[in-house]
């Protein structure tokens, strides 16, 4: 067991666990997108960055990957961290404005405006589906190709995969495609509908299906 401080609270943790696991266990909320309990941490979304003081220097680390060490001081919500997280979320929202996961996170973090030119991509390249397919489904039917702006998730040679069993796990875990936010009316707008107690959904659906969590029910209802 190692002892560390998270936001001033002295906590104990098992050796080998990551800051994110420990922080969540003790109830500290750190936002993530590319992280999933049952998959290898990937460290790509950078939303889980926290400040760690190891006695020598303070630096920003990805909490989903950083192993806890004796005596470190972790701060999960410093100004530097929050400023960066907001900007990263803004970058993601500019890429995928209609993702409910991203829209909800934006409301939670108090993001007010997206200052970049809006795109309409479907994928945020979090890699959850790739890891899900390889690690949990034992298949590895999809993977990343290309680098930089050309990076995308595809099957080998973009043909129908022979090893894909159509299990749908990739779709299940995808934080973007599965849940589409229907509240955004103009580009750059942040919806906020689900997180306020007088949601705009009321006008549309007559009944509030969700307030604080993304259940997706309102979307389904509209489709019906």
């Amino acid at each position: 067991m190692v002892t560390l401080t998270i936001n001033g609270a002295k906590v104990q943790a098992e050796e080998g666990s990551t800051i994110l696991e420990v922080a969540r266990f003790y109830g500290f909320d750190i936002p993530t997108i590319c992280y999933h309990d049952e998959l290898t941490p990937y460290g790509a979304c950078r939303l889980c960055m926290v400040e760690v003081d190891d006695g020598k220097r303070t630096r920003l680390v990805a909490s989903c990957l950083y192993p806890v060490r004796e005596g470190i001081k972790v701060r999960t919500h410093t100004e530097r961290v929050i400023k960066g997280r907001k900007l990263i979320l803004e970058l993601l929202l500019a890429r995928c404005p209609n993702s409910k996961t991203l829209q909800d996170l934006a409301s939670k973090m108090g993001l007010e405006k997206v200052r970049f030119k809006m795109e309409n991509e479907d994928c945020i390249l979090c890699g959850l589906c790739v890891r899900m397919c390889a690690e949990q489904m034992g298949s590895g039917a999809i993977g990343f190709v290309g680098r930089g702006q050309k990076r995308e998730v595809v099957t080998p040679f973009r043909t129908a995969s022979e090893i894909c069993r159509n299990c749908g796990a990739c779709m299940f875990i995808c934080p973007v495609v599965e849940l589409q936010c229907r509240g955004v009316k103009s580009p750059g707008e942040l919806c906020n509908s689900c997180l306020v107690f007088t949601p705009q959904c009321l006008e549309k659906y007559g009944q509030v299906m969700c307030t604080l969590d993304s259940c997706g029910a309102c979307v389904e209802k509209e489709e019906k």
């Binding site: 460290g43 790509a44 979304c45 990805a62 960066g84 970058l91 200052r115 390249l125 993977g143 702006q149």
Partner: protein, 617 residues
Amino acid sequence: MKKIRTPEELEALRNSLLQQRDPNKPCVRVCLGTGCRARGSVDVIGAFKDEIKRQGLAIKVDSKQTGCHGFCERGPVVVIGPKEIFYQRVKPRDVPEIVSKTLLNGKVVDRLLYVDPATGKKTLYEYEVPFYKKQRRQILANNGRIDPTNILDYIAVGGYQALAKAITTMSCEEIIDTVEKSGLRGLGGGGFPTGRKWRLCRKAAGDTKFVIGNGDEGDPGAFSDRSLMEANPHSILEGMIIGAYAVGANQGYLYVRAEYPLALKHLQIAIDQAREYGFLGNNIFSSGFDFGIKINRGGGAFVCGESSALVASIEGKMGEPRAKYIHTVERGLWNKPTNLNNVKTWASVPLIINNGADWYAKIGTEKSKGTAIFSLVGKVNNTGLVEVQMGTPLKEIIYDIGGGILGGKKFKAVQTGGPSGGCIPEELLDLPVDFERLTEAGSMMGSGGMIVMDEDTCMVDVARYFLDFLQYESCGKCVPCREGIKRMLEIVTDTTAGRGKEEDLELLQELAETVKDFSLCGLGKTAPNTVLSTLRYFREEYESHVRDKKCPAGICKDLIEYFILEDKCTGCGACLKLCPQQAIQGEPKKLHIINPAKCIRCGICRDACPYEAIITR
């Protein structure tokens, strides 16, 4: 060939080589580095061989191909021993004259000598040329002396003696102590002390360990690793063998870009020869230490120069970095302790072992020891490979060694460290070059690229160029690097196109800082350096793009207008004939006028005008 098993055998081989080789025998050394090859040095050495054969001089004179001499600007470079007469820009047609005059009679061919543009004086010897005078060439010392494809040449200049000394007389700890005491530092962003890295790797748990030589030099404008690999591959191998012995590794990898075919060829020849002589393989110098080196060719991704991406690439995975909270010296290649150094760092090791830590520690500044190698390029008179003592002021490198700015123009900025580095302005020209000073100035040592820019360079455009390179070369794994660089490029491109808004600059600054803080690997962490440094030193240029919609340097096409000066135009019509858009009107011998609506700002007219009557504004 009998394998060499003891230092005595090596010494005996060297002595017999020195006896066989008459130091007074005339010897032609032709540079066959990539730069001189491009200028036709293959034909030059061919001509020398033919001429020597034709005149039946094969017994009297030697001819030899060497690696890069560094002075690429004046290639093909030929040095005639034993007097070391330095000829530059040699053409095959000059060869018969050189053979009959210099080789046979010891006379000098005057017109091939280097003329110092500052004094107009001709210089006879390589060391007299101002380009070399202020350098301290120790890693590159043998580049122009030895044939890189012949191990005997390397042994003749004292090669593999450091290895013999290290393996037979020093313990692993002693070697690491020596390297640590010397103050040698790695060439990654932070300049991590090499000795400390070795020690960590030695202490790391596990029997299987690896060493890696990083020769994946991908920066635009940098070629120091390439030149070293092409010209003196054995020095890299020797350093790696010593390092492997010290940390306890039995397998080494050299990761070299596939775009360096000559370096790959020379390294492979060197590895085969070293194996033949017993410097690689089993039981090196009868010590029981086994070591082999494999070459891995990089697939052309800039990010694979980053250590963890390089490791992934060797493993056969996608060349993507991972978080290094557990360092590669503990868990690197195939999760085994791995010691990775740049090829230049490896090549410094034999020097330190031979001359001692104190000798090395005396060179350089307080915290940065030894020498730094720069690929001096851009708007400078003498482009080429430069090795200077740490702490040499930038001014000395650019003006004394580089010979000042091309065409007598005014200096504007110098970019060090490749796309990850920053632009250093004129007021910091006295800056002594070392790890700390460069970092403080917002740049870095890195790969050792040094791009000089003159007054005709638009700094916003420079930032745009490097961002464009980086957005293509980012691996795309983490959000700040992939999306952040794209958005920075978007803002900077808008600025150069006159669509910029004032609040964009604030956003650019904020974005650059976040990308620097939040990115996963060194590529993303250093990617905003060009933006941050140009915003810091050349903010007024951004502001004039945004506020006045003007490009002060006259580069950004959307913000400039070509204009013919009334008092200089003679009406010769040279511009009119060449304009692809028929945008120029005018009658012979009368003032010509450019129609801005038709002009596409290609600049052909300005280049064509013999009277410099066309300007941008």
